[in-house]
Symmetry: C2
């Protein structure tokens, strides 16, 4: 499936031999080698946040590096580098974004002349990742969640007893809905079990703490540049409107969702959405592009507005994605986390370029910093289901989550869910996505 004609730029920043003077970046299995250089936003001092760059087990303060004159970039990129979040950088074009990547690569490369300035800066320009406080990476104006895994969609359709588990539109367009932006939070924020209205086991409509709590393992794309209202982005241009990818958890209260859902998901999702602090850029991901999902002979033909040779050839990504669980009981007894899911982003039926182009196909304007979710990235095989609803057949077949025999139909209070991901390709250094982590707290009693 790997594309032969790589249409996306692979350059010196992807060279497997490259090493950083920050030694933790050179350790086998490090998520943030010098070939990655993911962005985040973190608390820089008492009054402000700054953009950070992940390198080994450190985060580089991008503002401090820019102000120290360590980045050889044009003024527009400099202004974006010293900002308190990533919106300005996201508003620039690919070339500028790539120039910053190259400047950072040079600064962090083993023989960098800037090494001593960075290493000796006071206050420190490099901070241990473990010690910093992260924030959402940008102001997100719009959050759109897609539904692009055929396997996830079909399993859900079967639980619901639908005659045709795959909605007819699924094969013709990337299905989506608008998500709730205000309740998006950075990884590590606790999620509180929501109250809501749903049908209880006896079929009565009740209001109380949701029971059918679930995670959904997704990858999201941040939008670069944006487009004017009434000006669709052709699919062949859409990859230039993608800034980078982040892991996220589309926490769901399935009982609320199944009862309320007439015009799509609403309160079953909007109680909180957890985002990884790290954005792995499209530049870093260039080596891991693969061809889009192949369409079967009896699939409907791709309409022209969703079809571009470059996208079919290299619009998908080979990224392993994992979901892990740790319960109160497991932590108390010293048991390690258990993996619930191992899937791959290439399982998606639609590419991010198709999602973005389709989103704008009616003239809808996207803005730099908008967030497009892939939908639960489930695969076909057992073990690749991206949510508990699939794993437990909607709560009917409990899954064993620990050596001591704990089982889950749905998430229980205290459960922590951890997502991880890694892009791999022979001949390249694997790059990771950091963690997206969240723990479920009990419902608040004041609404019981």
């Amino acid at each position: 499936m790997e594309t032969d004609k790589m249409t996306y730029l692979i350059d010196a920043t992807h060279a497997p031999a490259a090493r950083s003077w920050i030694h933790s970046a050179n350790v086998d299995g490090c998520e943030f080698p010098i070939q990655n250089l993911p962005f985040c936003v973190f608390t820089a001092d008492a009054v402000s946040t700054a953009i950070g760059v992940g390198i080994g087990d450190r985060v580089l303060n991008l503002r401090a590096a820019a102000e120290a004159g360590l980045l050889n970039v044009d003024p527009a990129v400099s202004r974006a580098a010293v900002a308190s979040n990533l919106n300005l950088l996201m508003s620039l074009d690919e070339g500028r974004s790539n120039s910053l990547r190259h400047a950072l690569f040079k600064l962090l490369l083993a023989d960098s002349p800037g090494r001593d300035i960075v290493a000796s800066a006071v206050p420190p320009m490099l901070r241990p990742i473990d010690e910093v406080v992260f924030h959402l990476p940008c102001r997100i104006g719009g959050y759109t969640d897609f539904l692009t895994s055929r396997h996830h969609t079909e399993r859900h359709g079967r639980f619901k007893g639908l005659k045709d588990p795959l909605p007819p539109a699924f094969m013709s367009l990337p299905i989506a809905y608008n998500g709730r932006v205000s309740s998006m939070r950075v990884s590590g924020t606790d999620v509180v079990r929501p109250h809501g209205q749903f049908k209880d086991a006896a079929g009565r409509v009740v209001y109380g703490p949701a029971v059918a709590m679930d995670f959904e393992l997704e990858m999201g794309a941040f939008v670069r540049k944006g487009n004017e209202l009434t000006r669709p982005v052709p699919v062949e241009d859409a990859s230039g409107h993608l800034f980078g990818l982040s892991l996220f958890n589309d926490w769901s209260a399935k009982d609320i969702q199944w009862w309320e859902q007439v015009l799509g998901p609403f309160l079953g999702k909007s109680f909180m959405t957890s985002l990884s602090p790290w954005i792995v850029t499209m530049e870093a991901l260039a080596p891991f592009r693969v061809s889009a999902a192949s369409r079967a002979a009896d699939d409907p033909e791709l309409l022209p507005h969703l079809r571009a040779a470059s996208d079919q050839q290299a619009g998908a990504f080979d990224i392993e994605m994992e979901a892990w669980i740790s319960s109160n009981g497991m932590r108390d007894s010293g048991q390690a986390e258990t993996r619930l899911t191992l899937t791959n982003l290439r399982n998606l039926y639609w590419t991010f370029a198709q999602m973005l182009s389709h989103h704008t196909s009616n003239g809808c304007n996207l803005e730099a910093g908008d967030f497009l979710g892939s939908g639960t990235a489930s695969g076909a095989e057992p073990g690749s289901e991206g949510c508990l609803t699939e794993i437990t057949s909607a709560g009917t077949r409990p899954v064993r989550i620990s050596a001591s025999g704990e089982e889950r139909r749905w998430l229980e209070d205290g459960d922590e869910i951890i997502f991880r991901a890694c892009a791999r390709r022979p001949g390249f250094v694997p790059i990771g996505f950091g963690e997206c982590r969240g723990r479920l707290l009990p419902a608040q009693s004041d609404r019981a």
Copy 2:
């Protein structure tokens, strides 16, 4: 149906005898008498916008009035008054908002000592409404559209041939979905017929200009204050979180919507949404509160989180709402606009307080400036249908729109839709909502 025990404050600012020194405000039928005082945001000078207050046929520059020391309000209200949009004022509590109303009322009252200062200010503090450029009244963080007219919902269910045209959840909770914020535009902005994917008359899935173009007549509420994530707003407190109401047009491409809709409306709506520039405040609307829709004996009982005596008693509003049409042909031949719809906001099954409280019932946080749409405000009677889909039975029975016999199944290029609304109650001066207006332009050919 009118509530006897009025639990909302009616005071001197609602006195029917009150007159303004701006004579156009005292003319019978004026939408903006001194009892109204709606807010807007307009271009104040070459570099900035300002909050405006509608009075007669003028708009008062609130920043200019505040800077001239003409408003006797506390510093927090002063700061909000000189802002470039309404977010700061919306973030304040009801008492502060009401203090601004009283200060404006005094300034504009017939015998106001500030009259000469306002009237003689250079640059002018009062501008003709016809000559100003309006903007969206605030930065809208989240736009949620509800579905609260039983009549609208049932008619749609019947067109679709549903056995049970009303979804079961409709009677138990206010159904809603997240709308798209980026494509919201102020009244007067042209709307371009969107391209999209839909099933054509022959049942083929095609991509092209949408055919089934429709308007949807709605009222929206702007959120005051907001709430913290995980802290629901009890329904008895919810009216204090509503800032005011505005007319808006939830333009729809029904063919796109019907084909794409698996997780709710998406591209069938997001090509543009038109908002009136005017917000009529909750304070101005106090006299027009009426009891919530009565529930039939066989309706499901209202769950406690949606039930409050004060809301049942006075949570709805008696506001007449109208939709008018004018076509290219009608304008060319000098024909007046034709009214398509006369309905009333009290036709809604759910109150705005219930919508807001339900929205937060899972802990979802709302923010000052968020916008909650009522859904199409259709009534039961013929002539009160709030969209063409209902009027023409989904395009199957054309409606005559002009004396010369023009007919419509769906909107055609050049059609202009104008919404108007008026709150009335015996013993009070009626107040209007200004216009929400938009014209449909042809699809852009570059995506054909």
